[in-house]
Every structure is written in C-alpha cells, then in structure tokens.
Symmetry: C2
Subunit: 325 residues, 2 copies
C-alpha cells in the first residue's frame, strides 16, 4: 500500500490562488447541484478541545477525502498550534489510500478561494479599495483572493492588535505587489471600500452598518458557531445574502442565526448558494448600490476539489515523498 | 508536525492476541458505561464501493482515532485488496496528530479479540473442540482468539471452498501449536464443538440449529448488514444473545434484525452488551446447557483501545518511522 505524503510546502507548490478560485466555481456548482456526497461532519468535543472529521466524495473528482481538524484553544499557552489539519485521500474507483497531506495551507487557500469566487461573482469588478478584518492564519489567503480578482490599489488591514496588523502588512507586502497595504487606518476609510473580508474569531460585529459605503460586497469567513458574528444584523438584513451551503450556514453562522432568532429575518430565510449563482439558477448582485454578503462556514467539497488538483500536480511533478505502509 | 508511521508489521510487533483480549475487556466496559465518545460512523457509498470513517475518543486512552476503511468488492477482479484501512491518531490533550497506522491487521486483531473476550466470559472454560466458519482475512485472528482462551485440542475449519480451508489450515498450523486444525470435516463434528466462530460474508446461515450441540457458544463477526446472517433464527431465538453494542447490532446485523422483522423476536428485543457482562451489570451464561451467541459488528472503541497500546509500545520500542509533515 503506497501513500504519497505532502507537507504544507508541497501542497503550496501544487496549488495557488488563481487556479484554486477556478476550482471553487466547479466545487460549489457541484455542491449546489447535488453531484457530491458531503455527509455531515463528525465533531468530538472534550474539555481540552475539538476534533472535526469532514469527509467528501465526488465521482467526477475521482477521490474520497476526509479532513481531520483539531481545534484546541488552550494550545496557545503551550506554544502549540491551536488548529492542525491532515487530509487523507482514497481512490474513488478502488478505495485504495492515495495520499496524506498537511491541510493547514489547503484550508486557508480554499477558504480564501471561496471569497475570491464571491468577489468575482458579486463585487464590482472595478473596485480599487478593500478592507480586511483579521491578521491571523486565514488573512493571507483572503488578501490573495481579493488581489487575484480585483484591481486593488489599496487594502486597509484592521486588527484588534495594532502590531498584528502592522506585522501582517509587512509580511504580505511582497505578495501584494503594487497594491498598498495599510495597517489600522482611520475607520472612515471603510466607507470607500468596495469589498470587505472578515476573517476573525469575533463574537460581535467588527464594523457597524453605518460605516459601510454603497454597493459594498462583504465576505465573512470567520464565524462558524451560533455565538459568533462578524457582520451586524442591520447589514445582513438589508444585504443580498449568498452562502456556501444553506443548511450549514443557517445552522452554524451567528451572522445569520442571530437575526433569525431575533425575528429580524424570517424563520424560513432562504439565501441563495454561491454554487447557484455559478449555475445561474440564482441571481447574485441585482444593482450597483446594493450590499452583498457572502457567508461561508466552509465545506468539505472545497477540500475535495483542491485535493484532486493537488494530487494531480504532485503525481505529475513528483512532489512529496512516497511511503509503503 | 511529526507523525509516526506504522506498517502492518509494525502494528503486529506492538500488539498480539492475549494482550488485545485484556484491552477489549476495558474497551467494552468503557463503551457500555458511556465513558467513550463513539459518534455514528460516516458511510459514503458509490457504485464502485464504500468508504467508512469511524472516529472515537476516550479521555482515559489519551487519543482520538479515526479509521478510514474502504470496501470495494470489484477489486477482486483487479487483484487489488477488497478492503483497506488506515487509522489516524491525534493527541486527546493537544489535538496534534501523532500517528498513522495500517489498520488491516489491527481490524482483524481487535475483531478476534472481541470474540476471545466473549469466549472467556461466555464459553465453558474446559472446551476442547471448536469450529471456525470462514477462511478469509478475519479467520486467523478468530482462531488465535479461541486458542488464547480455551484448551482446544482440535479446531474444525469450514469453508465454502475446500481448498481455502485446506490452505488456511496449512498456513495456521504453526500458530495452532499442539491444537489440530482439520479442514472441511464431516458436518456431524459440529455437534461436538463447544465454541463456533463465524467469520464469513454469507447472506444465509452457515449451519442449521439442529447441528448444534448443547451449551455451545457462538461468536458471529461476519455479518454487518440487515441482508446478511450467519446464524439461523432458530438458534438466535433460543440463545442468550450478547452484543458488542446494542444499537449498532440491532440496526445492522441481519442475524438479529431478520428474526425481529419476522416477529420471532420481540420488537423491543434488548440483548445485553459484552461490556455489561464485563461490568457484571448483565448476566452472560446462566446454565451449562444453554446456547450463548455473541454478535459483533465492530466498534471504533476497539480500535481506540488497541491503538493506544500500539502507540505506547511503538514509542517505547521505537517501532515505525517518524516523518515531519
């Protein structure tokens, strides 16, 4: 039994943002048209932390994947990573194990790529100013996604800790090319932004509705529990809301659940899925002035489509090491 | 991120039958007393085959496990293994990945060890004759389990294919020591057997009720779907039935479901669990003459407890290879 092992760097070598965005269009279209099997993830929580197991299959992609993700907040004190992820790949036609890859970069990439796809489908293509909330593990690929899809001249980076935003802008300057990164700008700059990405662990909204300019598109990828919300209810209620997967977002994202529970949104609130916008069975943006909000809690189909391409490239270019188990 | 890789041979070096049986006593006691988290397994089926993902956690054992099992019947024609299994281990206190091990031997071992525990708890300890139905991948460890727990002089091996039984007996002769293995004996020999293990993929019973001797103990580990049954309804109905896990066996095992659906067993049939017998909250065998039937569909808690010991031994004896992902 042979298994290809791919480190984070191996994975990075095999797949980057622009191609990942194209893959997300296929992934979400497949998800929304029922062409993939994505069973509910399994969650095992203990006092110390949580393990999540997220399996998926697509006959088209030729593989099964399962991502094992750990989330252990107490690891900060131990100077260990709070989250880790490994992705196991099996062949869809024989079931044989094919590969095991580090999933940290993969997760950030596919989360960013979903935002990139949303930017492409929902934002004004001429936007030159954007804002990014959060300077943590997901922020880099959110930035990459905006840069890959929009002609940005400047990106304002907001973080609770000033030094985090500054460090992030320093570290990402080379990736940003001619686009300027400005850490912790005046809050008024938000008004001029045509796109906002939120990638925080905030329990409460990171901006207020009246700080937004007209026609802004918002990507929210940080909240993944009913108690978490990055975007204010006032914004959610007036926005055209698009989600990665309806059931998951309505069940897990506080940004949507809280307004529903408060009666600000109808109990049968039925946002369109990004895949439906790809397939043109749902409309995205209807007018230049409306606010659009893409909410993503992440779906295993994203890992599935990225892993397919990563494995294809790794086999083609002989990336990683092969072990016999 | 370091990961210990263990091949099948590495796993075999770290854990064998007698110790595995002791571990199963702890595992099933923990399962029946609610001390472990064993969420429902996730099953993804396609035309080609099925992947099963089986996670489990016990704070006592200090690890999370998830076993990824493939079952692809068509692989026979491709001369590829019909089933494969890999087990991923994460640390229960930090979530960090610890090990990836081949799970083929592990699965056979823990399945055998459950039968061994059932023999120890339910069979007459003085039994000298046993029967084994099936000569496939699970049969070797079923044999090992009987040999480890009973003073067997002879084991009769039944297989649909005569040559399979003969080959099995040849291959296992050394493992059997002073116990004789007899392939495809006269069916009448069954009457003299105090223990029967069935490890087949049969859809219909592999013996009839009137072939059994008094006081026999039966281990059934082969059937894992409502359409499969190795033990006849007449036997099941008069036996004291013990299961590995109630909900799973009543839901999945045709040996139990079929008599319930036919009204031969009550709709609220409530067999005891093996862990309850370990904990003495349920009675196993009540009299020397009654038939006892242990039905097992397998539970992730068995993998969990075996993996804990395997990893402990592998770390202590530096077994396997360590890679950096």
């Amino acid at each position: 039994m042979k298994l290809r092992l791919l480190t984070g760097n191996d994975v990075r070598q095999c797949l980057q943002m622009p191609r990942a965005i194209d893959l997300m269009a296929k992934a979400f279209a497949a998800l929304s048209s029922g062409q993939v099997s994505v069973p509910p993830r399994t969650k095992i929580a203990s006092d110390a932390g949580t393990m999540l197991y997220k399996p998926a299959l697509s006959s088209q992609s030729g593989i099964y994947v399962v991502k094992a993700v750990s989330v252990f907040p107490g690891n900060v004190a131990l100077q260990l990573p709070v989250t880790t992820g490994l992705l196991l790949v099996n062949d869809a036609s024989t079931g044989l194990p094919l590969a095991l890859m580090d999933a940290e970069y993969l997760t950030a990439l596919r989360t960013g790529a979903a935002s990139g796809l949303a930017c492409r489908l929902l934002a004004d293509a001429k936007i030159t100013k954007a804002a990014l909330f959060g300077a943590g593990g997901q922020a880099g690929q959110q930035l990459a996604a905006m840069l890959a899809t929009l002609p940005l001249e400047v990106v304002f980076v907001f973080s609770r800790k000033i030094e985090s935003a500054e460090r992030f802008c320093r570290e990402q300057a080379a990736n940003a090319g001619h686009s300027r990164l400005i850490p912790n700008p005046d809050r008024n700059e938000l008004k001029s932004c045509g796109v906002i990405c939120t990638a925080t662990t905030s329990q409460t909204p990171v901006f207020s509705d009246d700080e937004l300019g007209p026609g802004v598109h918002i990507n929210g990828v940080g909240s993944f529990a009913p108690t978490m919300a990055e975007v204010p209810a006032a914004t959610v209620c007036r926005a055209t809301v698009i989600v990665d997967q309806r059931e998951a977002c309505l069940g897990e994202a506080g940004d949507l659940r809280q307004p529903i529970e408060q009666g600000l949104l109808p109990a049968d609130f039925h946002p369109a899925e990004l895949g439906e916008v790809v397939l043109r069975t749902a409309t995205g943006r209807r007018s230049p002035d409306e606010v659009t909000f893409f909410k993503s809690v992440g779906n295993a189909v994203q890992d599935l489509y990225c892993a397919t391409e990563i494995l294809r490239r790794a086999e083609q270019d002989e990336v990683g090491t092969t072990i016999v188990l």
